[in-house]
């Protein structure tokens, strides 16, 4: 270190830009509990950590979130990216405040999933995987969600919306903030 004055440690603004990103305290507490479930020295907490990060960073994983996970677990960022890109529930591009995942696999398609996709396209006025200009919604087609007895269906954020009809989809969209 040179003897020239350093930026004081308590300078919030520069600390935020200089410091490596990390988890907020509540998220870290959750992660610490999760880490205790697995043998020491393993990377098993990575996918749970990415789920938490995605909640903290608004439904997707910007570079800052990836670096935070990397720092929390001591796993290099390329390795974190490698895992993120493998799984459909992790997003590397911005998503809407509400995420609609429509099951379009065979059992749902037999019961009208394609019409549900069309209704979303028309009502939201954006293409699949795009975010509405107000940031409210994004939608995508998805592989089987294990709810074929209530087809057609979709996942709205973390919950299942089942036995859909075009009318019901329009109602659901109206209720979204």
């Amino acid at each position: 270190m040179s003897d020239t004055p350093e930026t004081p440690r308590d300078d919030g603004a520069s600390a935020a830009t200089a410091a490596e990103p990390s988890f907020p305290p509540e998220a870290r507490a959750r992660l610490d509990e999760i880490k205790s479930r697995y043998p020491e020295g393993t990377k098993a907490a990575l996918i749970p950590a990415l789920h938490i990060a995605q909640e903290v960073w608004g439904g997707w994983l910007p570079e800052e979130a990836i670096r935070a996970v990397s720092n929390e677990l001591g796993i290099p960022t390329p390795e974190v990216y490698g895992v993120v890109s493998f799984y459909d529930l992790f997003h590397q591009k911005p998503v809407g405040r509400h995420r609609l995942r429509v099951c379009t696999n065979l059992p749902c398609q037999l019961r009208g999933a394609e019409e549900i996709m069309e209704v979303l396209r028309d009502e939201l006025g954006v293409a699949e995987d795009e975010v509405t200009p107000d940031g409210r919604c994004s939608f995508t087609h998805f592989e089987c969600l294990g709810s074929c007895d209530t087809a057609p269906m979709m996942m709205l954020d973390d919950r299942y919306e089942e036995n859909l009809t075009p009318e019901r989809v329009r109602e659901i969209l109206k209720e979204l903030e």
């Binding site: 479930r37 697995y38 043998p39 393993t42 990377k43 098993a44 907490a45 990575l46 996918i47 749970p48 990415l50 789920h51 796993i75 490698g82 895992v83 493998f86 799984y87 459909d88 529930l89 992790f90 995942r101 379009t104 696999n105 065979l106 059992p107 398609q109 037999l110 019961r111 009208g112 999933a113 394609e114 019409e115 996709m117 069309e118 087609h141 592989e143 089987c144 969600l145 294990g146 709810s147 074929c148 007895d149 209530t150 087809a151 996942m155 973390d158 919950r159 299942y160």
Partner: protein, 431 residues
């Protein structure tokens, strides 16, 4: 045969069973209590004698799998419950976890006692957030009630249990893909051997069983192997079975029958065909299984008889299609699924699934030729058996049956210069 009383789904519609007290009131944890009075080897022998075969798709004998776990190990052993349920058409495990979580916890704990494992990880697909919440609450309750933890039911056997959420990848239902994912990696299947019984989770001996398989275990211990063997078609196909039926039926849902129920009887329990339409085809065991036609209407749905008919029971996800369905389009959708879900490790699977989807898409949109029939068949032969895991074979399943059993359906597309069906409710080529 006497009237069949549901076993696995007997607690459905009794929400009190989500708590230990309510579950016990309906007879729960009697199997675990009994198991803890038996020697671990006796438990394994009972499961072996019951003839229980894995309910996840492969149908491997459960007791035999347990017996592969080394008695002596300098590493801790693990039970991993495969709750990844991602085979298209399958939703039976979700019902078991949401409606009767302690039945699964009990099965996992008995498995732990039998092989000497102190920890269970329940690997649940990331989309099943509600089932994961129900399970976590039930596990907490089980700890509070002394069913789990440092001394299971006061017998001095330690067992811990954790729910581990996946993040959306079909291949993580393959047992070594699942282990990779559990360890925080891309879910790419491992080279076998070594098998998980020797080197599984975290390099330690591991039993991996499907949810429904583990849910059978408490009943086998409590009521005996002979009782379990008395249900089903023969000694290779024993016990109660959940069938998830979907598509063009009046009441899609999960129905419990003795294993080997004829398709026609299952269809009746689901209220028959939707709107009284004609049956055109059905898939008896999830997206990986060959498509069968109406001549198999009375086929008993057990492992061996479905295999003899050229398909497979798989996860017993039965998808029913009426006469309005274009089978080229239906198969195309399944091929799109396998193309998306291939992990990319093995060239035949990665490239072959893509070509299958492209060829079917071309047939559907009008550019197909008779040569495509031969090429599709060749691709199936090139994929099947040439990949590390079963995904390649699975991808070939429906395509092979389309080519072999429904050639006229493809020929109609070639003659017509595209799809001859109207698709009011179905697919657009983009999905």
């Amino acid at each position: 045969m006497a009237t069949f009383e549901p076993v696995l789904s007997r607690n459905v519609g009794h929400p009190e069973v989500r708590e230990v007290a309510g579950y016990k009131k309906r007879g729960g944890y009697a199997g675990l209590a009994k198991a803890l009075t038996m020697e671990p080897d006796e438990v394994i022998e009972a499961v072996k004698a019951s003839g229980l075969r894995g309910r996840g798709g492969a149908g491997f004998p459960c007791g035999l799998k347990w017996s592969f776990i080394p008695k002596q190990s300098d590493k801790p052993k693990y039970i991993v419950c495969n709750a990844d349920e991602s085979e298209p058409g399958t939703f039976k495990d979700r019902l078991l976890m949401e409606q009767d979580p302690h039945q699964l916890i009990e099965g996992c704990a008995i498995a732990g006692w039998a092989v000497g494992a102190e920890t269970t990880y329940i690997y649940i697909r990331g989309e099943y957030t509600y089932a994961a919440d129900v399970l976590e609450a039930a596990i907490r309750d089980a700890y509070d009630a002394g069913v789990l933890g440092s001394s299971v039911m006061g017998k001095g056997f330690r067992h811990d249990m954790y729910v581990h959420r996946g993040a959306g990848a079909y291949i993580c239902g393959e047992e070594t893909g699942l282990l990779e994912s559990l360890e925080g990696k891309r879910g790419q299947p491992r080279v076998k051997p070594p098998f998980p019984a020797v080197i599984g989770a975290f390099g330690a001996p591991t039993v991996i069983n499907n949810v429904e398989t583990l849910c059978c275990v408490p009943h086998i211990i409590e009521r005996g192997a002979e009782w379990f063997k008395g249900i089903g078609t023969d000694e290779r196909n024993t016990g109660p079975k959940l069938y998830a039926i979907s598509g063009h039926v009046a009441r899609p849902g999960t129905y419990e029958h003795p294993i080997g129920v004829p398709f026609s009887e299952l269809l009746d329990s689901a209220g028959g065909m939707l709107g009284g339409a004609e049956l055109k085809a059905f898939i008896p065991g999830g997206a990986s299984a060959a498509i069968l036609g109406p001549k198999h209407r009375d086929l008993p749905l057990d492992f061996d008889q479905v295999a003899k008919a050229g398909s497979m029971l798989g996860s017993a996800a039965v998808m029913v299609m009426d006469e309005s369905v274009c089978l080229v389009r239906a198969t195309m959708r399944l091929s799109k699924f396998f193309n998306h879900e291939s992990c990319g490790q093995c060239t035949p699977c990665r490239e072959g699934t893509n070509w299958m989807e492209l060829l079917l898409r071309r047939l559907e949109s009008g550019g197909g030729s008779t040569a495509d029939i031969r090429v599709l068949g060749e691709i199936c032969e090139m994929i099947a058996g040439n990949s590390l895991c079963a995904l390649g074979d699975a991808a070939a399943g429906p395509v092979r049956s389309l080519v072999a059993n429904f050639t006229d359906e493809i020929e109609k597309h070639i003659e017509h210069g595209g799809c001859p069906y109207e698709h009011r409710r179905y697919f657009s080529p983009s999905t």
